[in-house]
Symmetry: C2
Subunit: 292 residues, 2 copies
């Protein structure tokens, strides 16, 4: 029966007031494992989470998707820095009464996850950082690069179609996977989120530019993130190059690195079977060490 | 009962004549999966294979450990190039009548595996390359580096004890894992191999120096290795730095990269539970794509 399997295709959007805002979120799935918070990419809303990633992970735990302030149907202004976004996410978890969870941060969401772990170390047990960069990373979301700009300025690409181009590698195999990805996103057709506008773009781009600026000791902050961490990327990521994932795994004290071939920024969507299997195995571990 | 579980602690050394040489090998385990050929590191013999790595993999397949020409109890001269070593390994497989197998190449053995895949593409179905480098890689086995030389010239370190220092990171956790590793190696006490002498060292070091020289198109050869491949390393490898594993996964068209934290060259021995679980999952896949 439709709707009986917990899925981001059908999960009802909920709202919680916390701090000074009302946050839109979806919470579905069940199981004995700790809830898994999903932190979203540049301009992404609740509707941008691939059910092929959320749903298999929802079979052993609750998954929680969340719109930060000013995104989708959440109130407020989009912060112009990652620290402000981390503060909103912590307020949101406080609003749910969740003291500790696991986290999957993708792209911008991976930066927010790192900042949250620094600001409140107890909030996360295990962390998954996909297609993201450390503070002081390189070539972060430069949409003016020819390899990205040609797709973003292509008038024939509308809506999700642009994601197929910029989240996936130019090979036929990756583009086919990208086509399947946008078809999966399009399966949700009710209770849709509000798409991000130019104000979201401007504020989040400002946050990327700030995140590229290193703190005093480049990558030194990462040593304070002690959680077992799984760092994931595609080897052909044009949006946040894989070198940033190398720097994360070299400087985080307790991180396993997993890199997929023939894949770009959206490696988790392209290889959703492998990714959810690896993520579930990583999250199932209670070891203080990341290897699983 | 001792000896009933297939193990490199107890497996009998066998000999096969093939080409112009007689090769020493051990073959044990059983199961429906394709046999797995192990290709050994610098100066390593059959006795240097950690039973914590070989034995779990022998529960679903035969594992085959092998001494190349001039190593251990195999006859002949150690070649001064990787190509010669690949030729011996192919002769050895021909001698066993094995047309195709899976391979786990560690360090020098990973270079030999790459060369074999180029010379006879049909020989391998899936490949695992651990702590190794592509042809034209960087900083390959420079034992004169202070970080390595201080252990190799330490008169208090004898036999396997030097491996604890150079295969493992300097952290207490990694050194404890290194101590456990050499205790596992020491469990075998009969039918031991002949330890490598200065002639083996000299010839294999010459092979490393040649391997550092790029072919005309740096890393271009890798595009011809189409096998699904798993590339593994420790992020603190001083012998063959992890950057070489990055270059492998970036240039092999079909390779997943897995990097372990808090580990050096011997990451597979330090995290043997995780490594054998990941390797078994990778080898269990029949997909034409590496992700598992």
């Amino acid at each position: 029966m439709p709707g009986t399997t917990p899925s981001n295709i059908t999960a009802k959007t909920q709202f919680v007031h916390a701090g000074n805002e009302t946050y839109a979120y979806r919470r579905f799935g069940s199981g004995p494992a700790r809830p898994l918070l999903f932190l979203q990419h540049f301009t992404g809303t609740l509707d941008n989470w691939d059910p092929a990633v959320t749903d298999p992970l929802a079979t052993e735990r609750q998954v929680i998707l969340f719109d930060s302030a000013g995104v989708g149907r959440s109130t407020g202004q989009v912060p112009t820095g990652v620290a402000g976004m981390a503060s909103h996410a912590l307020d949101f978890l406080d609003g749910l009464g969740l003291e500790s969870c696991d986290v999957l941060g993708f792209s911008l969401g991976g930066m927010v996850a790192q900042q949250m772990a620094l600001d409140r170390p107890s909030v996360f047990r295990r962390m998954i950082l996909v297609g993201t960069a450390p503070r002081g990373g390189e070539d972060i979301m430069h949409l003016e690069k020819p390899s990205l700009a040609r797709h973003l300025s292509d008038p024939t690409l509308k809506g999700y179609a642009v994601l197929q181009k910029i989240f996936f590698a130019p090979t036929s195999t990756s583009q086919i996977a990208g086509g399947a990805f946008i078809q999966r996103l399009a399966q949700r057709n009710e209770d849709l989120d509000t798409a991000s506008g130019p104000d979201v773009v401007a504020a989040q781009m400002a946050a990327f530019r700030q995140w590229e600026q290193s703190t005093a000791t480049r990558f030194g902050d990462l040593n304070d993130i002690r959680q077992p961490t799984l760092v994931v990327n595609g080897t052909h990521d044009e949006m946040i190059p894989v070198s940033n994932s190398y720097r994360l795994s070299e400087n985080l004290p307790n991180a396993v690195l997993l890199v997929y071939p023939d894949a770009g920024h959206g490696s988790l969507f392209q290889f959703h079977d492998s990714f959810t299997r690896q993520a579930a195995a990583f999250l199932a571990s209670d070891s203080p060490f990341a290897p699983y």
